[in-house]
Structure formats: C-alpha cells, structure tokens
C-alpha cells in the first residue's frame, strides 16, 4: 500500500512537470490575453502604466456600444464576409476541381501541378502583398500591357489611314479621319483642329514615317492608369483576387489528400457497372468528402480572421479605411491617431467570440459527418 501511494506521487509529479511547460505558456499567450481583453473592453484604461499609473476602472459597455454603432466596424465585418464568400465560392470549388483533375488522372505529372499551385502558400504574405501591390499599381505591368495594346491598336489604324499618303500631300479628309480616331479628347489640343493638325503632320515631311506615327500615338493615345487599389469602390477586388491566388492550392492539397483515401476499387467497380463519371463524382467522391468540405469552410472563416498581413501590405486598410477587415480595424483603433484601447479590446473579444462560434460549428459538423479526418 505505501509503495502504491509513492508510485501515484511519482506519477503525479511526472504528469505535472510534463504538462506545466505547455500549459503555462498557453495560459500566458492565449488565455491571459483573452481575460485581459474582457477586462479592458469594459474599462476606461487608455494606455500608460497598467498598475501604479493613472487609476482606471469599470466603465460599462460603452466600448461595445461604440463598436456596434460604428459604420467602419460593419464595413470591416462585411469585408471579412466577402473573404469568406470568396473562399467558399472561389477557392474551394477551384481547389476541388484541380484535385479532381489530378485524382482522376486527367492530366499527367500530378506532382508537378500540385507542387506549383501550392507555391504561393509558402511565400511570405508580406512579399505576396507588396508584389501584387506593385502589379496593380498605376505604373505596374497590367497598366503597361493595357497601354501597349491600346497603342498598338491605335497605331495600326493610323497606318491604315496614312497608307500610301505622304505627310506633305495629306488631305483635310485624312486629317479628319485621324481626329475621329483620336476621339473628342484630342480636340482639346487644338483651337482649330483640322488645319493645325494638318500643319503639324506636314512639318514631318522628310522625317521617317515611324517618327510621325510615334509622335501621333504619344499625342493621342490616352494613358490608362488603373486605380485598382486606390478607388474605394473596387479596392477589395484585388485583395480578394490575391487571396484566391494564394490559398486555392491549399484547398487543392486538402481535397486531394482526402480523395486519395477513397477506396479506388469502389470507383472502378462503379465504372464497370456503367456509372457515368458524373455519377461517380456525385455519388462516391462528393459524399466521402463532405466532412472535408465542411472543415474547409470553417478554415475559410478562420482564415478571414487572420488575413491581417496581406491587407496590411497591400492597402493598409485604405483608401479611407474601406478595405479594413476586423483585425486591421482593431489595429488601427489601437495604434492610429488617438488610441482607443477599450474599443480595440472589444473588437479583439468579438473576434474571439467568432472563433468560439467556429468551434461549436466544428463540433456540430463532427457529429453530423462522423469523426475527424486526418
């Protein structure tokens, strides 16, 4: 009996010395901040020393009232919802289709496609954000491509008009055609367009044709300058696109890994019995992936809560705060301008509550679809 007691004691000591390192770090990094955000969200703490500084105390639920009456909060929540919708209706179906193509061997080199499509996941989000910010910028490659296409089109039509006509013997008719081509904006350059342009063209006599064409293009082709990230009504679209670009590969891997667990013989048997490919997909593959699909949707929601870095790098929440998501809205309230810490902590807690809601959802899904998949 004493021997047994001693054993229990050793077991207990071993148990706690093994659990405590993890448990205490976990309390410090995850649990305590949650408690802190609860306390501070109902306080009037506004920075400075937490103990021994200016006294602070209970201030009621003012911060929550302010959050819920702030249009910027609803805007941020809406952007989170956009990200979730884009995941569920963009990343998931695309990832599923890619996985299906690879799984059913419609293409060769399965490892290659899978490997390449996952690459954006492995790159730092900051790198991805700054890269695409440049691509979408008014001077970026998209603008360059569009402008050179527009210019080439204009030049070829210009050449058609001037074909066989020297610059000296150009007629008013030709000049009018050029002006028509250039559109109304071109008229701003001249007070009396036809004779002035004619004179201008005639001054090129002797010079190579290409020079005239170049200068006319420079004069008349309007440079298109895309403002994807600085126009408030479209600024979310590039962000959603980049998220699609980044994370579709992850869903591809998830779906493929779980498709590969399906017994291939079932599919072969079904095909031999005359099932069409569509029936195989609908009656075998989709049902066995239902758990994965639900898990992926949950992942999409938690992913939208953690898209801070990408948006921080691409727009910082701008222009005029329209691309804020909850985490950026929280960050800006804590660090931009006059910090409002109770407000920021209230937002933090709201995000934690959304996470808890996800956990409940996961548990329900587990019950419904039976067991975890790993």
């Amino acid at each position: 009996m004493p021997n047994r007691l001693r054993l229990r004691g050793e077991e207990g000591r071993a148990y706690w010395s093994m659990v405590l390192p993890a448990f205490s770090i976990y309390l410090l990094v995850m649990a305590f901040p949650i408690v802190l955000s609860i306390v501070l969200s109902v306080s009037n703490y506004d920075g400075g020393k937490m103990f021994g500084g200016d006294p602070w105390g209970f201030a009621g639920f003012k911060a929550y009232a302010r959050v819920f009456s702030d249009p910027l909060f609803w805007n941020a929540l809406k952007n989170n919802a956009y990200i979730v919708l884009m995941s569920v209706f963009g990343q998931l179906p695309l990832g599923f289709i890619f996985a299906y193509i690879i799984y059913r061997k419609l293409v060769k080199w399965p490892g290659f496609w899978q490997g390449v499509l996952y690459v954006p996941n492995i790159i730092s989000v900051i790198v991805v954000g700054l890269l695409w910010q440049t691509i979408f910028s008014p001077n970026g490659p998209i603008a360059e491509v569009m402008n050179s296409i527009a210019r080439a089109g204009f030049q070829s039509r210009l050449e058609a008009i001037l074909a066989g006509v020297g610059s000296l013997d150009i007629s008013d008719d030709h000049v009018r055609k050029i002006l028509d081509l250039a559109g109304p904006a071109a008229l701003e350059w001249f007070t009396d367009p036809v004779p002035e342009l004619k004179e201008l063209i005639q001054s090129y006599s002797g010079a190579p044709m290409q020079e005239l064409l170049n200068d006319l293009c420079n004069l008349f082709v309007q440079r298109w300058s895309p403002e994807f990230l600085s126009k408030s009504n479209v600024a979310m679209l590039p962000i959603l696109f980049v998220l699609l670009w980044m994370y579709t590969g992850m869903y591809l891997i998830l779906f493929l890994a779980n498709m590969q667990k399906i017994d291939a013989q079932i599919i072969e048997a079904a095909r031999i019995d005359g099932a069409s490919e569509w029936q195989v997909m609908r009656c075998i593959i989709l049902p066995s992936l239902s758990g994965t699909i639900v898990n992926s949707a949950i992942l999409a929601i938690s992913g939208s809560l953690s898209s801070f870095s990408l948006i921080f790098a691409m727009t910082g929440g701008g222009p005029s705060r329209v691309t804020e998501i909850l985490s950026i809205y929280m960050y800006n309230n804590a660090f931009l301008g006059r910090p409002n810490l109770p407000l920021a902590n209230a937002i933090s807690l709201i995000m934690v509550v959304i996470s808890f809601f996800l956990i409940v959802l996961t548990k329900l899904a587990e019950k419904r679809y039976g067991g975890k998949e790993d």
């Binding site: 207990g12 790159i123 953690s306 902590n345």
Partner: protein
C-alpha cells in the same frame, strides 16, 4: 486484369475534350501562379530606369546592385540571423513542449487531462491575430516588449494548440505495453519519454516542424507589435520597410522581396512531400 480495368476507366474518364480542357485549365492556372513570381525575380535584376522603360522585357543589362543595396538598406545582415533564431528556437520549443504534454495526456491518466487538453484543442481555432492588442498590452505589462524572449514565447504559445493536439493523438497510438514493461523495469517517466516516446514520435515531430517553420519564418502580424528595435526584427518586418517611401525604388524593392522569398522556396523544393503531407494532416482538424 487490373491493368485492363484501369485503361477502360481511364479511357472513359478522359474523352479527349475533357483532357484538353483539364490541361488547358492546369496550364492557365500554373502560369498565373508562376508568372508573377518569375516577373518579380526578373525585374530584381533591372535598374529602376530600365524597369520604367519596360517591365515585361528581359533585363538587358542584368545588375546585382539592387541586391547589394537592398541588403544594406533592409539591414538584412541583422534580420536574417534573427529570423533563423526565432524560427528554429520556436519550432524546437513547440515540438519539445508539445511532445512532453502529449505524452502526459496520452499515457498518464489524470482527471486534469480532459479540461486542459480540451483547452488546447479549443485554441486551435482561435487566431492569434485576434489577440494582437491584449498581447501587446500584456507584453508591456510584463516588461518584455522588445525582447527575443517575448517573440519566442508568443510563437511557441500560438503553435502549441495544434502541436499538443497532434502529439497527443499520435502518442496515443504507441502501444501501452511498451510503456508498462518499461515501468515494470523501473524506468522513470522521463527516461521513457526520452528513450521510447521521442524516437517513436519522429513522424509527428517532423510534421510539426514543417508546419511551424514556414509559418514562423513568414509571420508578420504578431512580431510587428512585439518589437520595434531593428536588432530584434525578423525578415518580413525588414521587407515591409520597402513598401513605404522606398516603394518607387522598384529595383531595390524587388530585390528585397526576392531575398524574402527565396529561403522558403528552397525549403519548399527540398521538403515538398513532407510539407504537402503536413498541411493535409494539420489543416483538417477537429
């Protein structure tokens, strides 16, 4: 026979139209994935002047000077070692602490296991980013703002929920008989951990390391609020510096982005199989 079935199935799956469509789609999307990265690397070898002339052409006079200058301006000689310390330190910490706790949860019965273990599992779905502000305040309260220890603690803490979950589930599969016979031979729990559990848990340790190495190396949101001194910053923070006033200096910005991207690309090329497996195991969790 099996071969025959496979060919008939494959034959019917892949009408030539379906196959061409599949190839078309794959080529389109892999092209869209790779081209921006290729474009970035290509332009990192151009002078800003050449970049402004044409962003799509190959560099006519490739130059390394962007790299030299970006390396200096971004203080990458400082940040690179920092990133390595944070990544290696936190990953080792997560793996070790998770395996310890996982062993206790899986193999030593205690009434404390259920509530504590469930606490960890709940943490898997709590995004650490949502705790940014209280974490910032806590770190200031404890007087460890601008210290390496704060960064390491936060990284280990955020990695623990998944770490403990995967470790516990894995160690449960180690046969009890192994551990019991070692106990009867008089081994302590710690020597069992060292001699039996750790060697047998290598696969889950690898999965955890792979998942955490890329996460921590690329992490930005949390370290952004934990340190402000250059000597303590990590690579993503240094790269972010190139977005503000330096963003028009395209050559240097691209060089900095490439410097930030290459280590993880190499890591991915070497460990692609394990990374893919780890993602599939780690992302679908209960």
């Amino acid at each position: 026979m099996g071969e025959e079935i496979r060919t008939t199935v494959a034959g019917r799956v892949g009408s030539s139209i379906a196959r061409s469509a599949a190839y078309g789609m794959m080529i389109l999307f892999t092209g869209m994935t790779l081209y921006p990265i290729f474009w970035l690397i290509m332009n990192s070898f151009k002078s800003t002047k050449e970049f402004q002339v044409s962003q799509l052409a190959f560099p006519a006079e490739p130059t390394m000077s962007n790299y030299v200058e970006a390396w200096k301006m971004g203080d990458f000689a400082l940040l690179f070692p920092n990133s390595i310390v944070y990544t290696v330190g936190a990953t080792l910490g997560i793996v070790f602490v998770s395996l310890l706790a996982g062993f206790a949860f899986a193999k030593i019965s205690s009434r404390a296991t259920k509530p504590i273990y469930n606490g960890f599992v709940i943490g898997i779905l709590i995004t650490a980013q949502s705790l940014m502000i209280p974490l910032f305040l806590e770190v200031n309260l404890l007087g460890i703002y601008n210290t390496r220890i704060a960064v390491l603690l936060v990284y280990i803490g955020t990695g623990l929920p998944l770490g403990v979950y995967l470790s516990t589930e894995y160690i449960k599969s180690i046969p009890n008989a192994l551990i019991e016979s070692a106990r009867i031979d008089g081994a302590t729990f710690f020597s069992i951990f060292r001699k039996i559990v750790v060697p047998m848990s290598l696969p889950v340790a690898v999965t955890l390391s792979i998942l955490n190495i890329s996460n921590i190396w690329n992490e930005f949101a949390l370290i952004n609020i934990l340190v402000s001194r250059t000597e303590l910053k990590s690579l993503p923070l240094g790269i972010f510096k190139f977005s503000g006033s330096l963003s028009t200096d395209y050559g240097k910005q691209f060089a900095a982005l490439t410097i930030g991207m290459v280590p993880m690309l190499l890591f991915y090329i070497v460990f692609r199989k394990q990374i893919t497996k780890g993602v599939a195991a780690g992302a679908v969790k209960g």
